[in-house]
C-alpha cells in the first residue's frame, strides 16, 4: 500500500502519523513544495521578530521522517490523474498512489488593486513570505539561520506559486522600510502589524470596515483593541480602502480610496486566503464553484473514493449546514487525524466540527470566543461586563431566549471547553454567571473576575443587558 500525502502541513503530518501508528510497513510519501520540515504556520510572526528561530517552530524533532520512515519529496504538485492514480510533479515526474490525501492548504487571496504586482508588496502566509519579510525588515534570518534547503523547490516551480521566492527591495530602498502599510484586519494582518511595530517600522493599518472585526466584536470591544494598537504606535485607518499602488521598480506610493497619495515602501496584503487548488482544475475532482475548495463528505472523502482532502483546501460541512473551508489550525489538525483514519480504510471515522471556538492574542489582549457571537442576530440579547480594575477585561455572553449560546471574552484567559459545556448543557445566564469561574484559566495570583451572581441584580453602568449589541455611531 502506498499512501501519498500532498502537503507537509499540520493536516498532512497528522494524517501521516495516524497511518504510521497503525501500519508500520505501508509506504508513506509526503510531497511538499514549501519546506523540508513541518512547521507551525501560526508561529511565523515570532520568527520574523527573532523571538523564535526557524527550528523552534518545528513541532517535531528533525529526525521524525527518518524515524517513522516517511519519505519526502520536495516538489510542486501540478496535476492529478484520477484514472491512473498518479500525481504529476513540477519536474514532470509522476508519483503513483493507492490512496491520496490532498492537504495542500491555502494561498493568499490575490490583491485586486492596480500595481499589486510591484516588488515590495507581499503577503504573510507561507514560509517564503516569512523569509521575504525577514529580509525586508532585518536583512535576513536571525541566528541560527533560515530553514534548511530553502531553495530546493524552485527548480520545478515558477512565480505563480505562493512558495516562489519574492525579491526583497531592501537594497533599492536603502535599508528597512520607513513607511509600511498592512491591508486587511484579520489575524494575519494583525500579526504583520505587530511584527512591523516591533521592528519600529512606522505602519498604517488599513481596514475596510468602520470598526475592528465587525462580525465578532461589538463597538466597545473593538475600540479597546484599536486603542491598544494605536498606543503601540500603529496608525489605525479604519473604514479606509486602498485604490492602487504606484512606483517605478518597487512600490513607492499607495493611493487610498479617497484618492490621497501616500508614500509607501512596503505593503503586506492580508485580505484572506483561498484554497490552493488551481492545479486540480483539470483533474475532474469535484471542487466548489465559488472558492475552489475540494468538496468532501463527513469522512473527508472527495468525489473520488481513493482521494481524501483535509485542512484549508477542503470544503467541509459546518454546523449550520453550509459547506466551506475552515482555515484554522486546530480544525486542520483534527481533519488530518480523521483523514488518516480514512487512508487506513476506516469508514467509520467522521469529522464533526462541534461548536465554534477560537482564541487569539490581539497585540497583548487575550481573546477567547466560543459558540455563536455573530452580531445582529434577531432576538438575541447580550450580557456585557467591563472590568477596569487591576485587570482590564470584557465579558460578553450572548443569549438566545433564556439560553446562553455564545461567549466573547477579552483580557483574561478562559478554558473554552468549559464555556462550550455551558452552551451544550443549555444553561441559563444565572447559572453561567454563578459558575463562570470554573472556566477561568488565568495564571496564578491573578484576582478572579467578580460578576453579579444573578442577572436580575445587574445595576450601574458597568453592567448592561442590551436588547441589541452596541453598534458604533454612523461614520
Amino acid at each position: 500500500m502506498h499512501i501519498v500525502i500532498i502537503g507537509n502541513g499540520v493536516a498532512g503530518i497528522e494524517a501521516a502519523l495516524a497511518v504510521r501508528a497503525k501500519e508500520p510497513d505501508w509506504r508513506i510519501t509526503l510531497i511538499s513544495e514549501e519546506s523540508d520540515h513541518f512547521f507551525s504556520r501560526t508561529a511565523l510572526m515570532w520568527v520574523v521578530t527573532g523571538q523564535l528561530s526557524h527550528q523552534c517552530i518545528e513541532p517535531h524533532e528533525r529526525d521524525l521522517y527518518e524515524r517513522l520512515n516517511l519519505q519526502r519529496v520536495r516538489a510542486r504538485a501540478v496535476g492529478l490523474d484520477l484514472e491512473k492514480q498518479q500525481v504529476r510533479l513540477g519536474s514532470g515526474e509522476p508519483v503513483s498512489y493507492d490512496r491520496l490525501l490532498i492537504a495542500c492548504g491555502s494561498r493568499p487571496r490575490p490583491a485586486p488593486w492596480k500595481g499589486s504586482e510591484l516588488d515590495g508588496i507581499g503577503s504573510f502566509v507561507t514560509l517564503q513570505d516569512c523569509e521575504w519579510l525577514e529580509r525586508e525588515i532585518h536583512g535576513g534570518s536571525s541566528h541560527p539561520g533560515g530553514p534548511p534547503r530553502a531553495d530546493e523547490h524552485l527548480a520545478g516551480s515558477d512565480a505563480s506559486s505562493p512558495y516562489w521566492r519574492r525579491p526583497s527591495v531592501r537594497d533599492a530602498r536603502g535599508g528597512a522600510p520607513t513607511c509600511a502599510a498592512v491591508i486587511g484586519g484579520g489575524l494575519i494582518g494583525i500579526e504583520a502589524v505587530e511584527v512591523l511595530a516591533h521592528a519600529k517600522v512606522p505602519v498604517r493599518f488599513f481596514i475596510r470596515e468602520d470598526w475592528f472585526w465587525p462580525m465578532a466584536l461589538d463597538e466597545r470591544e473593538s475600540r479597546w483593541i484599536a486603542d491598544r494598537m494605536s498606543s503601540h504606535g500603529v496608525e489605525m485607518r479604519l473604514g479606509e480602502e486602498v485604490a492602487s499602488f504606484a512606483g517605478k521598480d518597487r512600490v513607492e506610493k499607495l493611493v487610498t480610496g479617497g484618492g490621497e497619495e501616500e508614500d509607501t515602501d512596503l505593503v503586506v496584503v492580508a485580505i484572506g486566503v483561498v484554497p490552493n487548488t488551481e492545479w486540480l482544475a483539470e483533474s475532474g475532482l469535484e471542487l466548489q464553484e465559488r472558492g475552489g475548495g475540494i468538496v468532501v463528505d463527513e469522512h473527508l472523502r472527495t468525489s473520488d473514493p481513493n482521494v481524501f482532502a483535509a485542512g484549508d483546501c477542503a470544503a467541509v460541512t459546518w454546523f449550520d449546514g453550509s459547506r466551506r473551508p475552515e482555515q484554522l489550525w486546530y480544525t486542520a489538525r483534527d481533519q488530518g487525524r480523521v483523514a488518516g483514519r480514512g487512508l487506513l480504510g476506516d469508514s467509520v471515522a467522521e469529522y464533526n466540527r462541534g461548536h465554534w471556538y477560537n482564541s487569539a492574542k490581539l497585540m497583548d489582549i487575550e481573546y477567547t470566543t466560543a459558540g455563536l457571537v455573530n452580531m445582529n442576530v434577531e432576538g438575541e440579547k447580550n450580557f456585557f461586563h467591563e472590568e477596569r480594575g487591576k485587570v482590564r477585561s470584557t465579558t460578553r455572553i450572548v443569549l438566545s431566549g433564556d439560553r446562553v449560546v455564545g461567549f466573547n471574552m477579552l483580557g483574561r484567559r478562559w478554558d473554552h471547553s468549559v464555556l462550550i459545556r455551558f452552551i451544550e448543557e443549555q444553561r441559563s445566564l444565572d447559572h453561567v454567571l454563578t459558575h463562570l469561574n470554573e472556566a477561568a484559566f488565568d495564571t496564578e495570583f491573578v484576582p478572579p473576575l467578580v460578576l453579579p451572581s444573578r442577572a436580575g441584580e445587574l445595576a450601574g453602568p458597568a453592567f448592561s443587558l442590551n436588547a441589541e449589541p452596541v453598534r458604533p455611531p454612523a461614520a
Partner: protein, 369 residues
C-alpha cells in the same frame, strides 16, 4: 498594570550575546574564569600574583572572598531581576516570585549570615538545605551549631522539603527560594532559550541528575557512620574524608559553579539544576507524586514552540500541549515561563485536587430551573 500577558514581542535570536555568537562566548569565558579564580584561589598551584580576591574582600571590610561573592551574587540577581521584570513583569506570578527570590538572597543568604558571623563567628544559610548543601546534614557540621539551628536544618531538609513539594511542587524551592535557581531566573534569564530540548538531552539529564542524587545520599550515610564508627576504623575514616572533599570539588565547585554558571551563555541557565543538582532530583521525584501539574487547555495549541523554546529546563512542553495532555515532569521548576509566553493561554500551573472538583461538577443537574 496588567496582571498577565506578554510585554510585546522579543528579539531573542537577533541579539548576539544571547544567541551563542562571539559575545556570548566571551561572556562565558569571563564567567568561567571568575569561578575558577573564586574556587581555587587558595590552592597551592594557583599563581601567587593572582591571589587577590581575599585581600580585595578584606579591603572592603568583608571577612573573606565568599562574602564578596555573596555581595556580587546579590548585585547580579538584582540587575537580572530588573532585566527579567522589564520583559515579563506584567505577570503577577512573575513579580511575586522574583520578589521572593531577591528577598531570600539579600536577607537570608547574605545579610543574616553576615550578621551571624559578626556575633557568633560562624554563619548558617537558612535558604540552603540538604542535599543541595550536603554538609548541612553531616553530623559534625550540625554539632558546630546551636541545637535550634541543627533542628531547623534537619526539619527543613527532611520534613518541610517533601511536604511542600507534594503540595505545590518542587517550584517552592527551585524557583522561589534556592539561590542557584534565583540566579538562573534573574541573571541567567537572557539565555533561558539555549537549554537543549532534544530527547537526547533528556536522557542524559535523567542519568546524571539521579546519579548525583544517589551519590549524595550514600555519602551522607557514609559520613554519619563515620561519626559513630570512624574512630575504630582509621582507614574508613580517611577514605570518607577524601570522598567528602572529592564531592565538594566535583559537585560543589566544578558542576555547580564553573560549569553551572560559567556556561550560562552557551548552555542556558539551568545546566546545574537540570543535570546535576541532587536536591532538584529528589524534589522532582516527590513532585511526580504530588499535586503540581501544568494543565493543558484542550485543542487550543497552535504548536508555535514558544513554551518549549523558553523552558529553561529543556522540557518539550509543546509535545504535551499539542496532544492535550496535562502533565507533571520531574524536571519542571515551575518558573511559569511556558504559561506566560503562550500566545493562546493554553497552559496553566496549578496544584490541582481534581477528584474533589470532578465530584462537584457531576453533581450539578444538567438543566437548571
Amino acid at each position: 498594570m496588567d496582571q498577565q500577558g506578554q510585554n510585546g514581542l522579543l528579539s531573542t535570536f537577533r541579539e548576539g550575546w544571547r544567541a551563542r555568537r562571539l559575545s556570548a562566548w566571551l561572556i562565558a569565558i569571563v564567567l568561567t574564569g571568575f569561578y575558577l579564580w573564586l574556587y581555587f584561589e587558595d590552592r597551592e598551584w594557583f599563581p601567587v600574583a593572582l591571589k587577590q580576591m581575599d585581600p580585595f574582600a578584606a579591603s572592603l571590610g568583608l571577612e573573606n572572598r565568599w562574602y564578596l561573592y555573596g555581595l556580587l551574587y546579590c548585585v547580579a540577581m538584582t540587575g537580572g531581576a530588573v532585566y527579567y521584570l522589564r520583559r515579563h513583569g506584567n505577570s503577577r506570578y512573575n513579580r511575586i516570585r522574583i520578589g521572593v527570590n531577591l528577598f531570600v538572597q539579600i536577607v537570608l543568604a547574605f545579610t543574616l549570615p553576615f550578621v551571624m558571623f559578626i556575633f557568633a563567628n560562624k554563619d548558617f544559610y537558612l535558604s540552603y538545605l540538604w542535599p543541595l548543601k550536603i554538609d548541612y546534614l553531616y553530623p559534625d557540621t550540625l554539632a558546630k551549631f546551636p541545637v535550634y539551628v541543627a533542628i531547623y536544618s534537619i526539619l527543613a531538609s527532611l520534613v518541610a522539603m517533601p511536604i511542600l513539594a507534594l503540595r505545590v511542587g518542587k517550584r517552592w524551592y527551585c524557583s522561589w527560594v534556592c539561590g542557584c535557581g534565583g540566579l538562573a531566573n534573574t541573571f541567567g534569564d537572557p539565555w533561558r532559550h539555549l537549554t537543549s530540548t532534544s530527547t537526547r538531552s533528556w536522557k542524559l539529564e535523567k542519568g546524571t541528575v539521579h546519579t548525583v542524587m544517589v551519590v549524595a545520599v550514600v555519602l551522607t550515610v557514609l559520613v554519619a557512620v563515620d561519626l559513630f564508627a570512624g574512630d575504630s576504623m582509621p582507614r574508613y575514616h580517611s577514605v570518607v574524608g577524601e570522598l567528602r572533599s572529592l564531592y565538594g570539588l566535583i559537585v560543589g565547585s566544578i558542576l555547580a559553579g564553573v560549569i553551572g554558571v560559567g556556561l550560562y551563555p552557551l548552555l542556558g541557565p539551568r545546566v546545574w539544576c537540570r543535570n546535576f543538582c541532587p536536591m532538584a532530583a529528589m524534589l522532582g521525584l516527590i513532585q511526580k507524586a504530588g499535586r503540581f501539574r501544568i494543565k493543558v487547555k484542550p485543542d487550543m495549541c497552535i504548536s508555535c514552540g514558544n513554551c518549549t523554546t523558553y523552558c529553561e529546563m529543556g522540557i518539550d512542553v509543546r509535545s504535551y500541549a499539542q496532544t492535550n495532555q496535562s502533565f507533571t515532569r520531574a524536571a519542571c521548576v515551575g518558573c511559569g515561563a511556558c504559561a506566560h509566553v503562550c500566545p493562546r493561554g493554553v497552559l496553566k500551573l496549578e496544584n490541582h485536587s481534581e477528584t474533589r472538583k470532578d465530584k462537584k461538577r457531576t453533581a450539578l443537574p444538567i438543566l437548571d430551573a
